[in-house]
């Protein structure tokens, strides 16, 4: 170690770095230790594979270039890109410069950070190029910082209607982060004023400062720069800036196939700490845009979970429509984390639903290749059941109507509220009914049930939502639809669109009946109908606001009929819409065969 290259002001910086890495090591080890068996197996299976290379690429693309934020808004993307990539390059090129200067690879660890202070004007390889590049990078980072500052004041300029409210520790970290680069600029410039060793930016500013008594404040400025770095590093693990490191870990785990479990694991903590509190989820949330509730969004939920101050109203006030998950640039499964926290609100471990007698469902019914499970919601919109019966008959398909007596639920509403053990009981009961029937296909009319059967149950038979089933019938030529001259729009229900990527089937069916018109929010950008079973906090008036927002979008093209494929959406729309224009896809099919 070369002690000529030392000044006491490096101590705060060194202290900060040590504290930061100790904290990071403790956090990472404890999270990885708390992964569950399935998640560990996934890592073991995939760690030596091309998935790791893919993860490295994604980490570079997302953590440095922020491609997803660029997609949301280019200026916002540039802001994150300049801060992340610019800062990293300042460190990397700074190290290159220090190595070139010293002529050996091992330099004092702080030399790259405080280089201009220690440089004594002697010549070293590529001096001018490196000085120019360093100044350019500083400019680049400062431009991002300027945008960040503007965003705090006028968020709309950067494409965001709202920015996130901060916690006190966030504020300390934010202020120290904002001070780091201007202080570095001032420190380097005032050194340049004395030593004449600056580049195009620092030297010019240095020349401007030269009329002041620069000698007096050059060391204090380097002290201030070092202290700002120290503060940022010390506070970082307890603030949103923890995402800088955690996101990299998350990307690797996700690429290796780790997914969120139904209960809290280390992976949940990794996801929670990967949230950068960018606030993009606030703008897409209908609770904010329609119902004007702006303190329950995923970003605040995750903040409260991290600060251990979660209020149950915030955990419960969510439609689980997955719009925020879709928009999240980090891809955090916030709705799943909500379910985990709802589960934590307490669960009774006593036997449930013993009154359900599984034998009576298929008893006395002839076996058939198709099982029809209407689902609870379909039973309150009987038109859909009648239409489905008609479609089965017209297509000449034999079927067993399992829940004809409206008597069993698929369990997803329970799961959404965090009653996992109870949902498991229903799952076991229904699985045994389905297995005993010996059928090959399960058709359901309710997207909630579809989601449940397709993703939660491990059924060894094909599960179809009725849109998929009708599409298959049309393909096989079993249904002949007559095309009419009607104007139709389609509402994608959350559970089968964002939840299961069923986008094309309903559109093909509708196009063979009438003229499908597109709407502003469709496919994965679809709006929630407001009737979501996942939210028990909303009152009727607030839910109606969400419904009318969605109806506004749907009625914009002035259609003859609004088509949906979810009984719950249909019921919710019908309640809030004066004219009788809302139809389920099975109803319009049934009318046209």
């Amino acid at each position: 170690m070369n002690l000529d290259m030392y000044n006491p002001f490096v101590i705060p910086f060194a202290f900060g770095v040590v504290i930061l890495f100790v904290n990071l090591a403790i956090a990472f080890v404890s999270w990885l230790y708390r992964l569950d068996k399935v998640q560990r197996r996934q890592i073991g299976k995939n760690i030596i594979s091309f998935k790791t290379l893919a993860a490295i690429w994604e980490a570079i693309r997302e953590c440095l270039f922020h491609r997803n934020i660029f997609k949301t808004n280019p200026i916002l993307g540039y802001m994150h890109f300049s801060l992340a990539f610019g800062w990293l390059m300042l460190i990397v090129i700074g190290k290159v410069e220090a190595v070139a200067y010293e002529g050996q690879y091992f330099t004092n660890p702080w030399l790259a950070i405080f280089f201009r202070f220690f440089e004594d004007g002697r010549d070293y390889p590529y001096k001018e190029v490196l000085t120019f590049v360093m100044d350019f990078l500083l400019c680049f980072v400062l431009s991002g910082l300027l945008l960040a500052f503007i965003k705090r004041m006028y968020s709309k300029l950067l494409g965001m209607r709202k920015t996130t409210k901060h916690t006190p520790s966030d504020r300390v970290a934010l202020i120290s982060l904002w001070c780091i680069f201007p202080l570095r600029l001032l420190a380097e410039s005032s050194t340049a004023a004395i030593e004449h060793n600056g580049g195009f930016l620092t030297q010019s500013l240095g020349n401007l400062l030269a009329f002041l008594p620069v000698e007096k404040f050059v060391t204090p400025l380097w002290w201030a720069y070092s202290i700002a770095l120290c503060l940022f590093f010390v506070f970082m693990p307890f603030t949103r800036y923890m995402h800088i490191f955690t996101e990299v870990l998350l990307i690797f785990l996700r690429k290796w196939g780790v997914i969120e479990s139904q209960k809290h694991t280390g992976y949940t903590d990794i996801e929670i700490n990967s949230c950068s509190r960018c606030g993009i989820c606030i703008d897409v949330c209908q609770l904010n845009t329609a119902a004007k509730i702006n303190d329950v969004q995923s970003v605040y939920f995750i903040r409260d979970v991290r600060d251990l101050s979660l209020d149950r109203h915030i955990a419960n006030n969510c439609l689980l429509c997955n719009r925020c998950v879709q928009a999240c640039p980090v891809g955090i499964e916030t709705t799943m984390i909500r379910q985990i926290y709802r589960y934590k609100q307490g669960n009774e471990d006593i036997p449930f639903y013993e009154y359900i007698n599984t034998s009576k469902y298929t008893e006395g019914k002839n076996s058939a290749p198709i099982l029809y499970f209407a689902g609870c919601m379909t039973h309150i919109t009987p038109g859909i059941i009648d239409s489905m019966k008609n479609i089965f008959d017209k297509a000449d398909d034999k079927y067993i109507f399992i829940d004809e007596d409206k008597n069993i639920c698929c369990g997803r509403p329970l799961r959404q509220q965090g009653f996992l053990e109870q949902a498991e009981v229903l799952k076991e009961k229904l699985t045994s009914i389905i297995k005993d029937s010996g059928a090959e296909v399960l058709v359901t009319s309710c997207p909630i049930c579809y989601n449940s059967f397709a993703n939660e149950y491990n059924l060894d038979i094909k599960v179809l939502h009725h849109t998929q089933y009708i599409k298959e019938l049309i393909d096989k030529g079993k249904l002949n639809l007559s095309k009419q001259d009607v104007k139709l729009v389609y509402h994608d229900p959350c559970e089968i669109s964002r939840g299961n990527n069923i986008y094309e089937e309903p559109r093909i069916i509708i196009n063979s009946i009438g003229n499908l018109h597109s709407t502003k929010n469709e496919k994965d950008d679809t709006l929630c109908c407001g009737g979501s079973l996942a939210n028990i906090e909303l009152n009727t008036e607030q839910a109606a606001l969400i419904t009318s927002q969605t109806l506004d979008v749907l009625t914009k093209p002035n259609p003859d009929f609004i088509i949906t494929s979810c009984p719950l959406c249909k019921k919710t729309f019908t309640k809030n819409c004066s004219n009788n224009k809302i139809l389920d896809i099975s109803e319009i099919v049934s009318r046209n065969i």
């Binding site: 979660l310 149950r312 955990a315 926290y341 934590k344 609100q345 307490g346 669960n347 009774e348 006593i350 449930f352 639903y353 009154y355 359900i356 007698n357 609870c376 919601m377 039973h379 309150i380 007596d405 409206k406 008597n407 069993i408 639920c409 369990g411 509403p413 329970l414 509220q417 009653f419 229903l426 009737g531 079973l533 028990i536 906090e537 009152n539 009727t540 719950l568 019921k571």
Partner: protein, 111 residues
């Protein structure tokens, strides 16, 4: 000899001795609870009702009377499918009511 019916055991509920705290905090959470006029629409559409004598109205009554032990056993029967809420003519959030009752009564609730 079995006559097919029996007498109810006599019991007294002294409403004056009830600790009303649970009910009060509950009504603050779900104000629509007060709107219920016991029409029974919820019970008519209930999935659990097809198998057992579960009844949202009964839960409502037991909760008001403070018969929490009986109520807890009743609440276990609900599958939370949400039909009752959708058919309610008074827009009572019956489903939220059941969930909150479960969590209000559950001693293990930690949130």
């Amino acid at each position: 000899m079995k006559f097919g019916f029996s007498l109810n055991t006599s019991r007294t509920i002294d409403l004056d001795k009830l600790d009303k705290k649970k009910q009060e905090s509950f009504t603050d959470d779900i104000p629509t609870f007060k709107r219920c006029f016991a029409c029974g629409g919820c019970a008519a559409t209930c999935s659990a009702q097809q198998h057992t004598d579960f009844n949202v109205l009964k839960c409502n009554l037991l909760f008001r009377r403070g018969e929490f032990e009986t109520l807890e056993k009743e609440l276990e029967k609900c599958m939370l499918c949400g039909k009752c809420t959708l058919v309610c003519p008074r827009n009572v959030n019956t489903r939220a009511m059941i969930i909150k009752m479960r969590r209000t009564l559950n001693t293990k609730t930690n949130l």
